[in-house]
């Protein structure tokens, strides 16, 4: 089939699509991705970061296609499945991309799910369901191919190399988003020699591997991932904006009891949930919950602060290694989930008291946020849940045994860490005042966390 459509893209120049692929991107469910920003509200920190899941999906498609061509796998049935999987891999994203994922996990009604889905990630269930049941997608792909696409995204029974193009350390998703996020944020951190990395990919023993000519480009890619994580994805302002959206959703559901918010995030796997879910995107979310007709309440207050860019401030940040072994153990294992909400709220309430005393005015405990920020070590981030192999003389070798650079940064300590942070709706009059306040309240916050963990542990002992 010829490629009738060529789309201009700032990262890959021209992206070519055939008739079937054009039909997919023209479907309403795919067009919805135009209204979901790739990096949520990162544009409040990096004004250029207005790119969307739509652009990224096209980019991933383009990379996957070019890798298939490089491996001489293009034109096969499996290749067509890979191309569709690349296009559709983000179909299940909700408003503000990954921020929605956390809220879906928090508020899902797992008891209503079939037993084989109870432990699945909700956004993955949503993506698979939409690919398999959306009438437009089904009409274009057919039932069988839709099923193959979801298999490729989850558990692929076929040749592993196809799965590696979609998910793995060298997948098309990462090869696109590092370059794209870097470009739109206006930073150089995520850049690497894509052309060299792509041309050094090879297929050996049904595995996606690198030729030795790609080792330097991969080293660059590993560092690019580390640096963009440190400077963009983990930028303190971005952590705050993500945490504020998550908190606004929680307040909308628990405190303000907004039916529309409950309907959007309380996943139960019913057709009614999906029907509603696909009508939401970033702009509708903000209009509905922060617009002039939105119901007054704490959810709206937080969202309006985001609209006006009156961000919460980071009032505390400390590496978990600085705490007692009890806190390190408990918080190292801590995950924000329904069972831990009371514990977290206890800490937030106590810290709001500390802040109210310091600022001599009441700080609402519902607007104080505890955040655990985890950073993976460089080598683990680069390998991304897998192993990168270099096609050696006799047998494949792990890249860290070929690259002296990756070997030297291969320890688990390099780049790794867990921080506990607190955000609150306070204002700094100056940088020096900020530093002085943070220093002054530091020990009090540490004491609050130590005390909360001790009490929680006592509770478990008595049970």
């Amino acid at each position: 089939m010829s490629d009738p459509i060529q789309i201009r893209d700032p990262i890959h120049n021209f992206i070519s699509l055939n008739e079937e692929q054009v039909k997919v991107i023209d479907s309403p469910i795919f067009q919805r991705l135009r209204n979901i920003k790739q990096l949520a509200l990162a544009s409040l920190i990096y004004p250029g970061a207005l790119h969307t899941r739509f652009d990224h999906s096209l980019g991933v498609f383009h990379v996957a296609k070019s890798v298939l061509r490089r491996l001489e796998l293009d034109g096969t049935d499996e290749a067509r499945v890979v191309e569709f999987a690349a296009l559709l891999h983000d179909l299940g994203h909700g408003p503000f991309s990954h921020v929605s994922e956390q809220s879906l996990e928090m508020f899902a009604d797992r008891s209503s799910l079939p037993s084989d889905q109870k432990k699945e990630k909700i956004h993955e269930l949503i993506t698979a369901h939409l690919i398999e049941t959306d009438p437009d997608i089904e009409k274009i792909l057919g039932k069988n191919r839709s099923r193959q696409v979801t298999q490729l995204l989850n558990a692929w029974p076929g040749d592993p190399v196809f799965r590696s193009i979609i998910s793995g350390p060298l997948d098309a998703d990462k090869l696109d988003y590092l370059l794209r996020d870097s470009y739109f944020c206006g930073v150089a951190y995520g850049r690497f020699d894509f052309a060299q990395l792509e041309r050094s990919l090879c297929r050996v023993k049904k595995q996606l591997m690198l030729r030795k000519t790609g080792v330097t480009a991969f080293e660059q890619y590993a560092l690019a991932k580390h640096y963009i994580t440190q400077n963009v994805y983990r930028h303190k302002g971005r952590l705050v904006t993500d945490a504020m959206i998550t908190r606004a959703i929680a307040l909308g559901i628990r405190t303000d009891k907004l039916p529309a918010m409950q309907k959007l995030y309380c996943f139960d796997g019913t057709p009614a949930f999906y029907k509603n879910y696909v009508t939401w995107h970033d702009a509708r979310f903000m209009t509905e919950f922060a617009g002039v007709r939105a119901k007054q309440g704490k959810c709206k207050d937080v969202l309006c602060r985001l609209v006006d860019r009156r961000l919460f401030k980071r009032v505390f940040s400390l590496g978990l290694e600085s705490f007692s072994y009890e806190v390190k153990t408990f918080m190292g294992n801590y995950i924000d989930k329904p069972e831990t909400v009371c514990f977290r709220m206890g800490i937030e309430r106590a810290v709001s008291d500390v802040l109210s005393f310091e600022f001599k005015s009441a700080v609402d405990p519902d607007l104080v946020i505890l955040n655990k920020v985890k950073t993976k070590p460089i080598h683990e981030m680069a390998m991304n849940d897998g192993q990168v192999l270099v096609n050696g003389h006799e047998q494949p070798e792990p890249i860290n045994e070929v690259s002296k650079f990756l070997d030297s940064v291969g320890t688990a300590k390099a780049g790794a860490g867990v921080d506990l942070e607190m955000y609150a709706p306070v204002e700094w009059l100056s940088r020096s005042r900020r530093d002085a306040v943070c220093e002054r309240i530091k020990q009090s916050v540490v004491d609050v966390i130590e005390q909360a963990v001790r009490e929680e542990a006592k509770g478990h002992d008595s049970v």
Partner: protein
């Protein structure tokens, strides 16, 4: 159960509180996960060197960042070009031992007891060489513990992207039979 709990308690229970090699750590956790019925939660997937869990790797890194586990590099064997391959050694620290006690006293006490029992039953796994353990883990992944013809295992291995020759399959099958007689009863959640 989280991978953090599992890996920490595993180090609290293995002899010497120490495991040598990243591959060995992955495979020991795999077999102990199967024996304690938590393997599915650990998210193992097939990779080139056998079943691999990103959750276990991430939990190990976090435990190292928190100074509960100490990672050291040791000189390893020379490769065919005379290049010395490093071997990673993981050992529970004094703080890590306190963390194990703290966790075992709390809600993870039942998991701790299960892991300790599993280590008694799977002593051969803990003692095995990482290469043999890797073959055994691959064969178990392919057969799910069912009696399977060696040729068929070889075919399934190829389709997964693994190459297992007949002596390797025989060795792995023998190892799996041995641990079965000593109480290996894998369960999935």
């Amino acid at each position: 159960m989280t991978a953090f709990e599992f890996v920490l308690l595993l180090f609290g229970a293995v002899p010497g509180h120490c495991i040598e090699g990243r591959t060995k750590l992955q495979k020991v956790a795999y077999f102990l996960g199967l024996q304690t019925g938590v393997a599915k939660s650990l998210g193992y997937r097939p990779y080139f060197y056998g079943p691999y869990s990103a959750e276990v790797a991430e939990a190990t890194s976090t435990l190292i960042a928190l100074d509960f586990i100490k990672e050291t590099q040791q000189p390893g064997p020379l490769d065919d070009k005379g290049f010395e391959r490093k071997k990673y050694r993981y050992e529970l620290t004094a703080d890590g031992k306190k963390a194990v006690d703290f966790m075992a006293k709390g809600q993870a006490s039942a998991l701790n007891a299960k892991i300790k029992q599993a280590i008694k039953e799977l002593n051969a796994v803990v003692k095995a060489d990482y290469v043999n353990l890797s073959y055994a883990a691959k064969v178990f992944w392919l057969t799910k513990g069912q009696e399977t013809d060696a040729q068929e295992i070889g075919i399934r291995a190829e389709s997964t992207g693994w190459h297992l020759d007949q002596p390797q399959i025989a060795e792995a099958t023998g190892f799996l039979k041995k641990i079965k007689t000593r109480g290996f009863q894998p369960t999935w959640e």
